[in-house]
Symmetry: C2
């Protein structure tokens, strides 16, 4: 089996992201502490995010708008102005947050780029994902960057046809079972799950445990050997 | 000269968009009528939008966040809650606004698609632009869709290399002198300016008047003949 192309997720696979969202959520919870209990608040925020997903898509801007909407709801339509200002500021700060690559990422990507075509496949806001890639210093290693509105089977069909030699000769690696692993396998690609220590509820799904093209790795450092083993099959 | 590929801008070239932004701005002005004079208000909003552009990029979500921030500033940090709720609602409504194609668009695109590879090249929010394309019914006519964070020379280099036979054999058509015409010409493509009756201040620029690869058309219906004339050169 020949692998020509390696797709990589960005947020929580190459650099920290969910931790930054969690920090903003913590700030949100503190701001609204007088108005609701934390579990109620977080439940409501998750619900508003889910409801807005088809309008806003993924990323910081939609998350900021959903925090504002939730704050309004939790305060019976009358969130105090300082809460609105703080949420707007939290959103802007997320969009300027320094990018910190995860351990091993720089070395592994440099190694993989010698043999394979690397493609970044990510959801989120266009401007923000491009900013993070530039700030990560990893940009030069990628043959292509695809910022997509959704990661489903057709996304991987299209991406691996466009930038590689089709899904059958491609590996997708990422931290989301739902977005990186399952639809890539469905498209006919190989998929490596590399969990991050926290996962957004929306991205949870069951592993395709016994699937011959699936693997779960504990860190990205294990990725090159796994891909080399496919090449040897 | 052979033209193989035609790039088309989306907002205000294929369907109404700026009018919808103007409607939201009008609503914004009415909401804040007690807090500032309209020219002051609009000047401040434009300034906040410009300041946020590098963080938010283009599109409705960033515009909504900028309206909220401007409202806060105009009310000395204390915009009343109903104003915040109304702006959030205005943003959501923009994202569900029906898509109305401009006169002649359907016929012209169907005609061009018989001879050329059509590529949609647009800024804005990923999810929103995909929704509008789907709602327009024009999706099938495009060989490719590129939703980009910025339209500069390198964007057109990349897009016409990827989806066509290079910029020299491509035409770009759109309503923005700054985003559709000038950088496409710079990249070596032909460019047709098709003005919309209103233009966002940020998109204004001088025309490359005497440039041999530039034309100004009064409506999209004139595009096929102009492209055919290039083909005959």
């Amino acid at each position: 089996m020949t692998i020509t192309t390696v797709g990589l997720d960005a947020d929580d696979t190459l650099w920290h992201n969910e931790t930054i969202f969690r920090l903003s959520q913590k700030r949100f919870a503190e701001l609204l502490a007088d108005h609701a209990e934390e579990p109620v608040m977080m439940g409501r925020l998750a619900e508003v995010e889910r409801r807005n997903l088809r309008l806003y898509g993924y990323g910081v801007k939609g998350f900021t708008l959903s925090m504002l909407e939730t704050a309004m709801e939790l305060c019976d339509g009358s969130a105090p102005p300082h809460i609105v200002r703080e949420i707007l500021a939290a959103g802007r700060e997320m969009l300027t947050h320094p990018v910190e690559t995860l351990p091993g990422v720089d070395e592994v990507l440099a190694e993989l780029a010698e043999t394979y075509r690397l493609v970044l496949v990510t959801k989120g806001d266009l401007m923000d994902q491009e900013r993070k890639l530039a700030a990560s210093g990893l940009g030069e290693l990628f043959a292509a960057v695809e910022i997509v509105s959704e990661k489903d089977r057709s996304t991987y069909d299209r991406v691996f046809a466009r930038h590689g030699s089709g899904a059958a000769e491609a590996v997708m690696a990422g931290n989301s079972m739902k977005s990186d692993v399952l639809p890539a396998i469905e498209a006919g690609a190989w998929a490596a799950h590399i969990p991050y220590h926290v996962t957004w509820a929306h991205e949870l799904a069951d592993a395709p445990e016994a699937h011959p093209r699936y693997v779960s790795l504990s860190r990205i450092g294990e990725l090159p050997d796994w891909i080399a083993a496919i090449d040897d099959k």
